[in-house]
Symmetry: C2
């Protein structure tokens, strides 16, 4: 099943920010609380909190509340979907170009 384009939008938009990608990297090493996630950044806790909200809306992050602490974890599904979209687009190209064209393109790509 193909992801709704709106979802893809949200995913890519969420990923198009280095802070948010860094947050995901952090979470890819395991669950963490909001404060822990925010710690390495120079910006305010509030700013990070907002970034987390964006990631949450995009379903890239899931929140589990325990008392006053919110534990955040990485969710793979949207990234999988985005990767699939990319693969599809790229695969299309691969099958469209004939061998010579493809070779020339690589050539060009490498000497840039």
């Amino acid at each position: 099943m193909m992801a709704a384009p709106q979802t893809l939008d949200q995913t890519l938009l969420a990923l198009a920010d280095p802070t948010r990608r860094a947050i995901l990297q952090r979470l890819s090493r395991g669950e963490a609380r909001v404060t822990e996630v925010a710690q390495p950044f120079k910006m305010s806790l509030n700013a990070v909190s907002k970034h987390i909200l964006v990631l949450e809306r995009a379903k890239l992050v899931k929140r589990r509340k325990v008392g006053r602490e919110h534990f955040l974890s990485y969710r793979a599904q949207p990234l999988d979907a985005a990767a699939k979209w990319m693969d599809d687009t790229r695969t299309f190209w691969g099958s469209r170009l004939d061998a010579l064209e493809h070779l020339l393109r690589e050539e060009d790509e490498n000497t840039k």
Copy 2:
């Protein structure tokens, strides 16, 4: 070699817009002029021209000028790099989770 994070930013930002993704889809079927690319959209030619500039800055589109006509073509490299970043992030997870955890996560993912 790893892409500069700035480049990844540009790539993902460029992709995080349905109009621009549609433009790329169009170009994945072959070269086209600016006017041709703009034709299906409801927005003004100028708006599309701006989108193309964004794609060009992200090196997702290359421009070849012939007289007054500008021929646009799709470039695969940045998408490749973005896909690689995603794969890397995802692969990390894949190798980190043990089989049971992984299974439970999938389970959870599917019943949401």
